[in-house]
Protein backbone atom coordinates (compact mmCIF):
# COMPACT_ATOMS: atom_id res chain seq x y z
CA UNK A 1 0.00 0.00 0.00
CA UNK A 2 2.73 2.41 0.94
CA UNK A 3 4.48 1.70 -2.31
CA UNK A 4 1.53 2.59 -4.51
CA UNK A 5 0.47 5.64 -2.55
CA UNK A 6 3.84 7.32 -2.84
CA UNK A 7 3.68 6.82 -6.56
CA UNK A 8 0.11 7.85 -7.25
CA UNK A 9 0.16 10.86 -4.96
CA UNK A 10 3.67 11.92 -5.80
CA UNK A 11 4.37 15.50 -6.86
CA UNK A 12 2.40 16.56 -9.91
CA UNK A 13 5.37 18.12 -11.65
CA UNK A 14 4.97 18.30 -15.42
CA UNK A 15 7.80 16.73 -17.41
CA UNK A 16 8.75 20.07 -18.90
CA UNK A 17 7.26 23.33 -17.76
CA UNK A 18 5.51 25.87 -19.98
CA UNK A 19 7.92 27.78 -22.15
CA UNK A 20 9.16 31.19 -21.07
CA UNK A 21 7.81 34.14 -23.04
CA UNK A 22 10.95 35.07 -24.92
CA UNK A 23 11.46 33.56 -28.37
CA UNK A 24 7.78 32.54 -28.61
CA UNK A 25 7.57 33.47 -32.27
CA UNK A 26 10.39 31.15 -33.19
CA UNK A 27 8.79 28.31 -31.27
CA UNK A 28 5.47 28.89 -32.94
CA UNK A 29 7.19 28.74 -36.32
CA UNK A 30 8.89 25.48 -35.34
CA UNK A 31 5.57 24.02 -34.16
CA UNK A 32 3.89 25.12 -37.36
CA UNK A 33 6.62 23.54 -39.47
CA UNK A 34 6.52 20.25 -37.56
CA UNK A 35 2.77 19.90 -37.16
CA UNK A 36 1.28 21.43 -40.28
CA UNK A 37 2.04 18.53 -42.68
CA UNK A 38 0.20 16.13 -40.38
CA UNK A 39 -2.63 18.58 -39.73
CA UNK A 40 -3.08 19.30 -43.44
CA UNK A 41 -3.30 15.59 -44.27
CA UNK A 42 -5.56 15.03 -41.28
CA UNK A 43 -7.81 17.86 -42.38
CA UNK A 44 -8.01 16.61 -45.95
CA UNK A 45 -8.66 12.96 -45.16
CA UNK A 46 -10.51 13.02 -41.82
CA UNK A 47 -11.99 16.42 -40.99
CA UNK A 48 -13.25 17.50 -44.42
CA UNK A 49 -14.85 14.11 -45.23
CA UNK A 50 -16.47 14.12 -41.78
CA UNK A 51 -17.91 17.60 -42.44
CA UNK A 52 -19.04 16.47 -45.87
CA UNK A 53 -20.64 13.36 -44.34
CA UNK A 54 -22.53 15.62 -41.93
CA UNK A 55 -23.70 17.68 -44.90
CA UNK A 56 -24.68 14.53 -46.82
CA UNK A 57 -26.79 13.37 -43.87
CA UNK A 58 -29.26 16.16 -44.73
CA UNK A 59 -29.48 15.13 -48.38
CA UNK A 60 -30.60 12.32 -50.60
CA UNK A 61 -27.87 11.05 -52.91
CA UNK A 62 -27.07 7.85 -54.83
CA UNK A 63 -23.67 8.91 -56.29
CA UNK A 64 -24.88 8.93 -59.92
CA UNK A 65 -28.06 10.97 -59.55
CA UNK A 66 -28.83 14.44 -58.36
CA UNK A 67 -28.05 15.48 -54.80
CA UNK A 68 -31.21 16.87 -53.15
CA UNK A 69 -31.63 18.59 -49.81
CA UNK A 70 -34.10 16.68 -47.61
CA UNK A 71 -33.58 18.41 -44.28
CA UNK A 72 -33.98 16.28 -41.19
CA UNK A 73 -35.85 13.39 -42.81
CA UNK A 74 -32.80 11.06 -42.73
CA UNK A 75 -32.38 11.79 -39.04
CA UNK A 76 -36.04 11.20 -38.21
CA UNK A 77 -35.80 7.94 -40.13
CA UNK A 78 -32.84 6.97 -37.94
CA UNK A 79 -34.85 7.63 -34.78
CA UNK A 80 -37.63 5.25 -35.84
CA UNK A 81 -35.50 2.64 -37.70
CA UNK A 82 -35.55 -0.68 -35.77
CA UNK A 83 -32.65 -1.97 -37.88
CA UNK A 84 -30.46 0.98 -36.83
CA UNK A 85 -31.44 0.46 -33.19
CA UNK A 86 -30.48 -3.20 -33.41
CA UNK A 87 -27.13 -2.24 -34.97
CA UNK A 88 -26.48 0.30 -32.26
CA UNK A 89 -27.10 -2.30 -29.55
CA UNK A 90 -24.95 -4.94 -31.31
CA UNK A 91 -22.15 -2.39 -31.76
CA UNK A 92 -22.17 -1.37 -28.10
CA UNK A 93 -22.32 -5.02 -26.98
CA UNK A 94 -19.42 -5.87 -29.27
CA UNK A 95 -17.30 -2.99 -27.95
CA UNK A 96 -18.17 -3.78 -24.33
CA UNK A 97 -17.53 -7.50 -24.54
CA UNK A 98 -14.32 -6.96 -26.53
CA UNK A 99 -13.02 -4.68 -23.81
CA UNK A 100 -14.00 -7.06 -21.00
CA UNK A 101 -12.26 -9.99 -22.70
CA UNK A 102 -9.26 -8.32 -24.30
CA UNK A 103 -8.05 -6.12 -21.44
CA UNK A 104 -7.37 -8.80 -18.79
CA UNK A 105 -6.14 -11.26 -21.41
CA UNK A 106 -3.70 -8.83 -23.01
CA UNK A 107 -2.53 -7.59 -19.61
CA UNK A 108 -1.88 -11.11 -18.34
CA UNK A 109 -0.07 -12.10 -21.54
CA UNK A 110 1.89 -8.84 -21.60
CA UNK A 111 3.12 -9.34 -18.04
CA UNK A 112 3.82 -12.99 -18.86
CA UNK A 113 6.02 -12.24 -21.88
CA UNK A 114 7.74 -9.36 -20.08
CA UNK A 115 9.36 -11.99 -17.83
CA UNK A 116 13.03 -12.82 -18.25
CA UNK A 117 12.60 -16.56 -18.94
CA UNK A 118 13.93 -17.48 -22.35
CA UNK A 119 10.95 -19.65 -23.33
CA UNK A 120 8.71 -16.60 -22.88
CA UNK A 121 10.64 -14.72 -25.56
CA UNK A 122 9.92 -17.62 -27.93
CA UNK A 123 6.22 -17.57 -26.94
CA UNK A 124 6.12 -13.80 -27.48
CA UNK A 125 7.40 -14.23 -31.04
CA UNK A 126 4.65 -16.76 -31.77
CA UNK A 127 1.95 -14.66 -30.08
CA UNK A 128 2.67 -11.91 -32.62
CA UNK A 129 1.69 -14.09 -35.61
CA UNK A 130 -2.00 -13.02 -35.85
CA UNK A 131 -0.83 -9.42 -36.06
CA UNK A 132 1.16 -10.21 -39.20
CA UNK A 133 -1.79 -11.60 -41.13
CA UNK A 134 -4.07 -9.61 -43.39
CA UNK A 135 -7.63 -9.46 -42.10
CA UNK A 136 -8.98 -11.01 -45.29
CA UNK A 137 -6.60 -13.96 -44.97
CA UNK A 138 -7.30 -14.35 -41.30
CA UNK A 139 -11.05 -14.36 -41.83
CA UNK A 140 -10.86 -17.00 -44.57
CA UNK A 141 -8.53 -19.11 -42.43
CA UNK A 142 -11.05 -19.10 -39.60
CA UNK A 143 -13.83 -19.86 -42.03
CA UNK A 144 -11.96 -23.08 -42.78
CA UNK A 145 -11.37 -23.84 -39.11
CA UNK A 146 -14.98 -23.17 -38.11
CA UNK A 147 -16.67 -24.92 -41.04
CA UNK A 148 -19.15 -27.57 -39.89
CA UNK A 149 -18.16 -31.25 -40.47
CA UNK A 150 -15.08 -30.59 -42.66
CA UNK A 151 -13.59 -27.78 -40.55
CA UNK A 152 -10.53 -28.07 -38.32
CA UNK A 153 -12.43 -27.51 -35.09
CA UNK A 154 -15.11 -30.05 -36.01
CA UNK A 155 -12.36 -32.58 -36.85
CA UNK A 156 -10.60 -31.91 -33.56
CA UNK A 157 -13.92 -32.37 -31.75
CA UNK A 158 -14.55 -35.69 -33.48
CA UNK A 159 -11.10 -37.00 -32.58
CA UNK A 160 -11.33 -35.93 -28.95
CA UNK A 161 -14.98 -37.00 -28.63
CA UNK A 162 -16.02 -33.43 -27.91
CA UNK A 163 -19.09 -33.39 -30.14
CA UNK A 164 -20.12 -29.86 -29.17
CA UNK A 165 -17.18 -28.51 -31.17
CA UNK A 166 -18.95 -29.55 -34.36
CA UNK A 167 -21.34 -26.65 -34.80
CA UNK A 168 -22.38 -24.30 -37.52
CA UNK A 169 -20.32 -21.59 -35.83
CA UNK A 170 -20.84 -18.94 -38.49
CA UNK A 171 -24.45 -19.79 -39.34
CA UNK A 172 -26.15 -20.43 -36.01
CA UNK A 173 -27.47 -17.16 -34.52
CA UNK A 174 -26.79 -18.48 -31.01
CA UNK A 175 -23.03 -18.43 -31.66
CA UNK A 176 -22.21 -15.90 -34.39
CA UNK A 177 -21.92 -12.82 -32.17
CA UNK A 178 -19.57 -14.59 -29.75
CA UNK A 179 -17.58 -16.15 -32.58
CA UNK A 180 -16.99 -12.69 -34.06
CA UNK A 181 -15.94 -11.33 -30.64
CA UNK A 182 -13.59 -14.31 -30.33
CA UNK A 183 -12.03 -13.70 -33.74
CA UNK A 184 -11.55 -9.99 -33.03
CA UNK A 185 -9.89 -10.98 -29.76
CA UNK A 186 -7.63 -13.44 -31.58
CA UNK A 187 -6.65 -10.74 -34.05
CA UNK A 188 -6.03 -7.84 -31.67
CA UNK A 189 -4.84 -9.34 -28.39
CA UNK A 190 -1.27 -9.64 -29.77
CA UNK A 191 -1.12 -5.89 -30.35
CA UNK A 192 -2.33 -5.07 -26.85
CA UNK A 193 -0.02 -7.71 -25.41
CA UNK A 194 2.84 -5.77 -26.98
CA UNK A 195 1.62 -2.53 -25.37
CA UNK A 196 1.34 -4.18 -21.95
CA UNK A 197 4.71 -5.89 -22.34
CA UNK A 198 6.35 -2.53 -22.99
CA UNK A 199 4.41 -1.01 -20.08
CA UNK A 200 5.48 -3.76 -17.70
CA UNK A 201 9.11 -3.51 -18.77
CA UNK A 202 9.07 0.25 -18.17
CA UNK A 203 8.28 -0.21 -14.46
CA UNK A 204 11.49 0.42 -12.49
CA UNK A 205 12.75 -2.78 -10.78
CA UNK A 206 13.36 -0.77 -7.59
CA UNK A 207 9.62 -0.76 -6.98
CA UNK A 208 9.56 -4.56 -6.98
CA UNK A 209 12.57 -4.72 -4.69
CA UNK A 210 10.84 -2.30 -2.31
CA UNK A 211 7.66 -4.39 -2.40
CA UNK A 212 9.69 -7.52 -1.69
CA UNK A 213 11.39 -5.89 1.31
CA UNK A 214 7.95 -4.85 2.58
CA UNK A 215 7.01 -8.53 2.44
CA UNK A 216 4.48 -8.28 -0.39
CA UNK A 217 3.41 -11.52 -2.09
CA UNK A 218 2.80 -11.86 -5.84
CA UNK A 219 -0.87 -10.84 -5.57
CA UNK A 220 -0.13 -7.78 -3.43
CA UNK A 221 2.74 -6.80 -5.70
CA UNK A 222 0.41 -6.98 -8.68
CA UNK A 223 -2.32 -4.83 -7.14
CA UNK A 224 -0.05 -2.28 -5.48
CA UNK A 225 2.85 -1.99 -7.91
CA UNK A 226 2.10 -3.41 -11.35
CA UNK A 227 -1.52 -2.31 -11.76
CA UNK A 228 -1.10 1.33 -10.65
CA UNK A 229 2.06 1.64 -12.71
CA UNK A 230 0.24 0.35 -15.78
CA UNK A 231 -2.63 2.84 -15.56
CA UNK A 232 -1.62 4.91 -18.59
CA UNK A 233 -1.02 1.73 -20.53
CA UNK A 234 -4.54 0.62 -19.58
CA UNK A 235 -6.03 3.91 -20.80
CA UNK A 236 -4.19 3.75 -24.11
CA UNK A 237 -5.06 0.12 -24.73
CA UNK A 238 -8.69 0.52 -23.60
CA UNK A 239 -9.25 3.52 -25.84
CA UNK A 240 -7.88 1.63 -28.81
CA UNK A 241 -9.95 -1.49 -28.02
CA UNK A 242 -13.25 0.32 -27.53
CA UNK A 243 -12.92 2.78 -30.38
CA UNK A 244 -11.57 0.04 -32.65
CA UNK A 245 -14.49 -2.29 -31.85
CA UNK A 246 -17.05 0.48 -32.37
CA UNK A 247 -15.89 0.87 -35.96
CA UNK A 248 -15.07 -2.80 -36.58
CA UNK A 249 -16.10 -4.06 -39.99
CA UNK A 250 -13.67 -6.31 -41.92
CA UNK A 251 -14.13 -9.79 -40.42
CA UNK A 252 -17.89 -9.33 -40.15
CA UNK A 253 -18.09 -8.25 -43.78
CA UNK A 254 -16.12 -11.25 -45.00
CA UNK A 255 -17.68 -13.92 -42.78
CA UNK A 256 -21.29 -13.09 -41.95
CA UNK A 257 -22.29 -9.86 -43.75
CA UNK A 258 -24.22 -8.96 -40.60
CA UNK A 259 -26.24 -12.19 -40.49
CA UNK A 260 -27.70 -14.54 -39.39
CA UNK A 261 -30.79 -12.77 -38.03
CA UNK A 262 -28.73 -9.56 -37.84
CA UNK A 263 -26.84 -10.93 -34.83
CA UNK A 264 -23.59 -9.45 -36.15
CA UNK A 265 -25.06 -6.40 -37.89
CA UNK A 266 -22.89 -3.71 -36.32
CA UNK A 267 -23.41 -0.05 -37.16
CA UNK A 268 -20.50 -0.03 -39.63
CA UNK A 269 -22.01 -3.05 -41.42
CA UNK A 270 -25.48 -1.48 -41.46
CA UNK A 271 -23.96 1.69 -42.86
CA UNK A 272 -22.19 -0.26 -45.57
CA UNK A 273 -25.42 -2.03 -46.54
CA UNK A 274 -27.43 1.18 -46.61
CA UNK A 275 -24.76 3.12 -48.48
CA UNK A 276 -22.88 0.80 -50.76
CA UNK A 277 -25.58 -1.82 -51.38
CA UNK A 278 -28.80 0.22 -51.33
CA UNK A 279 -26.89 3.36 -52.49
CA UNK A 280 -28.72 5.60 -50.01
CA UNK A 281 -25.70 7.66 -49.10
CA UNK A 282 -27.68 10.34 -47.30
CA UNK A 283 -29.02 7.92 -44.72
CA UNK A 284 -25.70 6.02 -44.59
CA UNK A 285 -24.03 9.32 -43.67
CA UNK A 286 -26.40 9.64 -40.70
CA UNK A 287 -25.13 6.28 -39.44
CA UNK A 288 -21.54 7.35 -40.12
CA UNK A 289 -21.96 10.58 -38.18
CA UNK A 290 -23.57 8.69 -35.28
CA UNK A 291 -20.64 6.26 -35.28
CA UNK A 292 -18.10 9.10 -35.42
CA UNK A 293 -19.77 11.03 -32.60
CA UNK A 294 -20.00 7.84 -30.52
CA UNK A 295 -16.29 7.11 -31.02
CA UNK A 296 -15.21 10.67 -30.25
CA UNK A 297 -17.44 10.73 -27.15
CA UNK A 298 -15.87 7.53 -25.84
CA UNK A 299 -12.35 8.79 -26.53
CA UNK A 300 -13.12 12.16 -24.92
CA UNK A 301 -14.61 10.51 -21.83
CA UNK A 302 -11.62 8.24 -21.36
CA UNK A 303 -9.22 11.14 -21.80
CA UNK A 304 -11.17 13.31 -19.34
CA UNK A 305 -11.52 10.55 -16.76
CA UNK A 306 -7.85 9.76 -16.73
CA UNK A 307 -6.06 12.97 -17.64
CA UNK A 308 -4.29 11.07 -20.41
CA UNK A 309 -4.38 14.12 -22.68
CA UNK A 310 -2.19 16.00 -20.23
CA UNK A 311 0.54 13.47 -21.00
CA UNK A 312 1.65 13.17 -17.36
CA UNK A 313 4.25 10.53 -16.74
CA UNK A 314 3.21 7.48 -14.77
CA UNK A 315 6.44 7.70 -12.82
CA UNK A 316 6.18 11.14 -11.32
CA UNK A 317 7.82 11.32 -7.95
CA UNK A 318 10.32 8.58 -8.81
CA UNK A 319 13.71 9.59 -9.98
Amino acid sequence: MSVSSTITHGGQLPISGPAPRSGGGQRLRADLAGLSPTLVLYGAFIVLPMVFALFLSFTSWDVVGQLTWVGLSNWSRFITDPMAHNSLVVTLELAGLSWVIQTPLAMALGIFVAGKQRYRAVYAAIYILPLLMSTAGLALMWQGVLAPTFGGLAGLGNSLHLKFLNQNWLGDPRFTFFVIVGLITWQFVPFHTLIYQAGRRAIPPELYEAAKIDGAGPVQTFFHVTLPQLRYTIVTSSTLIIVGSLTYFDIIYILTLGGPNNTTEVLAMDMYNVGFVQTEFGYASVLGVVLGVLGIAVALTLVRLTGFGGMQSGQEGIS
Partner: protein, 192 residues
Protein backbone atom coordinates in the same frame (compact mmCIF):
# COMPACT_ATOMS: atom_id res chain seq x y z
CA UNK B 1 36.84 -25.28 -15.39
CA UNK B 2 40.56 -24.75 -15.83
CA UNK B 3 40.88 -23.10 -12.41
CA UNK B 4 39.24 -26.16 -10.85
CA UNK B 5 41.92 -28.35 -12.38
CA UNK B 6 44.68 -26.15 -11.06
CA UNK B 7 43.18 -26.05 -7.59
CA UNK B 8 41.68 -29.51 -6.93
CA UNK B 9 40.62 -28.49 -3.40
CA UNK B 10 38.30 -25.82 -4.80
CA UNK B 11 36.71 -28.27 -7.22
CA UNK B 12 34.18 -29.69 -4.81
CA UNK B 13 33.19 -26.26 -3.55
CA UNK B 14 32.57 -24.92 -7.05
CA UNK B 15 30.53 -27.97 -7.97
CA UNK B 16 28.44 -27.68 -4.84
CA UNK B 17 27.90 -23.99 -5.42
CA UNK B 18 26.84 -24.59 -9.01
CA UNK B 19 24.41 -27.26 -7.91
CA UNK B 20 23.00 -24.99 -5.21
CA UNK B 21 22.46 -22.18 -7.74
CA UNK B 22 20.86 -24.61 -10.15
CA UNK B 23 18.56 -26.00 -7.46
CA UNK B 24 17.59 -22.50 -6.41
CA UNK B 25 16.70 -21.47 -9.94
CA UNK B 26 14.80 -24.74 -10.41
CA UNK B 27 12.84 -24.13 -7.23
CA UNK B 28 12.13 -20.58 -8.36
CA UNK B 29 10.80 -21.71 -11.72
CA UNK B 30 8.66 -24.40 -10.04
CA UNK B 31 6.85 -21.84 -7.88
CA UNK B 32 3.06 -22.28 -8.25
CA UNK B 33 2.58 -18.87 -9.92
CA UNK B 34 5.28 -19.68 -12.48
CA UNK B 35 3.80 -23.09 -13.25
CA UNK B 36 0.31 -21.65 -13.67
CA UNK B 37 1.73 -18.91 -15.93
CA UNK B 38 3.51 -21.54 -18.02
CA UNK B 39 0.36 -23.67 -18.40
CA UNK B 40 -1.90 -20.74 -19.31
CA UNK B 41 0.74 -19.25 -21.62
CA UNK B 42 1.03 -22.58 -23.43
CA UNK B 43 -2.76 -22.78 -23.72
CA UNK B 44 -2.85 -19.40 -25.49
CA UNK B 45 0.02 -20.59 -27.66
CA UNK B 46 -2.20 -23.45 -28.86
CA UNK B 47 -5.09 -21.05 -29.53
CA UNK B 48 -2.77 -18.90 -31.66
CA UNK B 49 -1.17 -21.79 -33.50
CA UNK B 50 -4.12 -24.10 -34.19
CA UNK B 51 -5.78 -22.10 -37.00
CA UNK B 52 -2.41 -21.33 -38.57
CA UNK B 53 -1.45 -24.99 -38.43
CA UNK B 54 -4.80 -25.88 -39.97
CA UNK B 55 -4.28 -23.37 -42.78
CA UNK B 56 -0.82 -24.71 -43.65
CA UNK B 57 -2.05 -28.31 -43.44
CA UNK B 58 -5.05 -27.67 -45.66
CA UNK B 59 -3.01 -25.76 -48.23
CA UNK B 60 -1.29 -29.08 -49.06
CA UNK B 61 -4.57 -30.82 -49.87
CA UNK B 62 -6.56 -31.22 -53.02
CA UNK B 63 -10.31 -30.82 -53.10
CA UNK B 64 -11.01 -34.53 -52.67
CA UNK B 65 -8.48 -34.83 -49.87
CA UNK B 66 -10.20 -31.92 -48.14
CA UNK B 67 -13.46 -33.84 -48.17
CA UNK B 68 -12.10 -37.25 -47.21
CA UNK B 69 -9.07 -36.84 -44.92
CA UNK B 70 -9.12 -36.12 -41.19
CA UNK B 71 -9.52 -32.33 -41.05
CA UNK B 72 -6.81 -31.62 -38.49
CA UNK B 73 -4.27 -34.45 -38.78
CA UNK B 74 -1.60 -34.69 -41.52
CA UNK B 75 -3.07 -37.82 -43.10
CA UNK B 76 -4.51 -38.59 -46.52
CA UNK B 77 -1.54 -37.66 -48.70
CA UNK B 78 0.12 -34.51 -49.92
CA UNK B 79 -0.93 -32.39 -52.85
CA UNK B 80 0.57 -29.23 -54.27
CA UNK B 81 -2.37 -28.44 -56.54
CA UNK B 82 -3.59 -25.51 -54.44
CA UNK B 83 -0.16 -23.93 -54.49
CA UNK B 84 0.14 -24.46 -58.23
CA UNK B 85 -3.26 -22.84 -58.68
CA UNK B 86 -2.25 -19.72 -56.79
CA UNK B 87 1.04 -19.25 -58.57
CA UNK B 88 -0.42 -19.84 -62.01
CA UNK B 89 -3.29 -17.40 -61.48
CA UNK B 90 -2.90 -14.24 -63.55
CA UNK B 91 -2.21 -10.91 -61.94
CA UNK B 92 -0.52 -12.30 -58.86
CA UNK B 93 2.65 -10.34 -59.56
CA UNK B 94 0.72 -7.09 -60.11
CA UNK B 95 -1.08 -7.67 -56.84
CA UNK B 96 2.17 -8.14 -54.95
CA UNK B 97 3.75 -5.08 -56.55
CA UNK B 98 0.66 -3.04 -55.65
CA UNK B 99 0.85 -4.23 -52.05
CA UNK B 100 4.52 -3.32 -51.88
CA UNK B 101 3.87 0.15 -53.29
CA UNK B 102 1.03 0.83 -50.86
CA UNK B 103 3.12 -0.42 -47.96
CA UNK B 104 6.22 1.58 -48.85
CA UNK B 105 4.26 4.77 -49.47
CA UNK B 106 2.34 4.44 -46.23
CA UNK B 107 5.43 3.74 -44.16
CA UNK B 108 7.33 6.71 -45.56
CA UNK B 109 4.43 9.11 -44.98
CA UNK B 110 3.65 7.81 -41.49
CA UNK B 111 7.23 7.78 -40.25
CA UNK B 112 8.16 11.20 -41.62
CA UNK B 113 4.95 12.97 -40.57
CA UNK B 114 4.61 11.40 -37.13
CA UNK B 115 8.28 11.93 -36.36
CA UNK B 116 8.00 15.64 -37.16
CA UNK B 117 4.73 16.02 -35.29
CA UNK B 118 5.73 13.92 -32.27
CA UNK B 119 8.90 15.94 -31.78
CA UNK B 120 6.93 19.19 -31.56
CA UNK B 121 4.25 17.61 -29.34
CA UNK B 122 6.77 16.33 -26.80
CA UNK B 123 8.48 19.72 -26.67
CA UNK B 124 5.08 21.38 -26.22
CA UNK B 125 6.56 24.84 -26.33
CA UNK B 126 3.44 26.56 -27.64
CA UNK B 127 -0.22 25.75 -27.03
CA UNK B 128 -0.59 24.59 -30.61
CA UNK B 129 1.17 21.30 -29.89
CA UNK B 130 -1.04 19.81 -27.14
CA UNK B 131 -4.21 20.97 -28.91
CA UNK B 132 -3.07 19.33 -32.16
CA UNK B 133 -2.23 16.18 -30.23
CA UNK B 134 -5.77 15.87 -28.87
CA UNK B 135 -7.29 16.59 -32.25
CA UNK B 136 -5.12 13.94 -33.88
CA UNK B 137 -6.02 11.39 -31.19
CA UNK B 138 -9.69 11.82 -32.04
CA UNK B 139 -8.88 10.71 -35.56
CA UNK B 140 -8.72 7.21 -34.10
CA UNK B 141 -12.39 7.44 -33.28
CA UNK B 142 -13.53 8.32 -36.78
CA UNK B 143 -14.96 5.32 -38.60
CA UNK B 144 -13.23 4.80 -41.92
CA UNK B 145 -16.54 4.04 -43.67
CA UNK B 146 -17.89 7.45 -42.70
CA UNK B 147 -15.05 9.27 -44.40
CA UNK B 148 -15.09 6.85 -47.31
CA UNK B 149 -18.45 7.94 -48.68
CA UNK B 150 -17.34 11.48 -49.60
CA UNK B 151 -14.30 10.04 -51.35
CA UNK B 152 -16.65 8.08 -53.59
CA UNK B 153 -16.86 11.06 -55.92
CA UNK B 154 -13.51 9.88 -57.20
CA UNK B 155 -14.43 6.66 -58.93
CA UNK B 156 -10.87 6.12 -60.14
CA UNK B 157 -9.79 4.66 -56.86
CA UNK B 158 -12.22 1.78 -56.87
CA UNK B 159 -10.02 -0.06 -59.34
CA UNK B 160 -6.94 0.34 -57.13
CA UNK B 161 -8.99 -0.83 -54.17
CA UNK B 162 -9.94 -3.91 -56.09
CA UNK B 163 -6.31 -4.69 -56.82
CA UNK B 164 -5.44 -4.40 -53.15
CA UNK B 165 -8.34 -6.64 -52.26
CA UNK B 166 -7.08 -9.23 -54.70
CA UNK B 167 -3.61 -9.05 -53.25
CA UNK B 168 -5.09 -9.84 -49.87
CA UNK B 169 -6.84 -12.85 -51.33
CA UNK B 170 -3.74 -13.98 -53.22
CA UNK B 171 -1.81 -14.16 -49.96
CA UNK B 172 -4.04 -16.89 -48.71
CA UNK B 173 -5.07 -18.66 -51.85
CA UNK B 174 -3.93 -21.89 -50.25
CA UNK B 175 -6.21 -21.55 -47.24
CA UNK B 176 -9.13 -23.38 -48.62
CA UNK B 177 -8.92 -27.01 -49.58
CA UNK B 178 -10.78 -26.18 -52.75
CA UNK B 179 -7.52 -25.11 -54.39
CA UNK B 180 -7.51 -21.36 -54.82
CA UNK B 181 -11.18 -21.33 -53.93
CA UNK B 182 -10.42 -18.76 -51.26
CA UNK B 183 -9.27 -16.42 -53.98
CA UNK B 184 -12.48 -16.85 -55.92
CA UNK B 185 -14.51 -16.74 -52.73
CA UNK B 186 -13.30 -13.31 -51.84
CA UNK B 187 -13.77 -12.19 -55.43
CA UNK B 188 -17.34 -13.39 -55.26
CA UNK B 189 -17.87 -11.21 -52.21
CA UNK B 190 -16.16 -8.31 -53.99
CA UNK B 191 -18.72 -5.53 -54.37
CA UNK B 192 -16.82 -3.46 -56.90
Amino acid sequence: MSSAEVLPAAHGDGERQRRATWLRSLRRSLRPTRVVAFVLGTLWLCVVLFPIYYMVLTSFRSQTQYLTANPWLPTGGLSLSSWANVFSSTGLLTDFVNSLLYTAGTIILVVVLSLLAAFRIVRHSTRMAPISFRVILFGLAVPIQAVLIPHLRDHGQTSTLRHLDRAGAGDVGGVDGGGGAAHRQLRALDPW
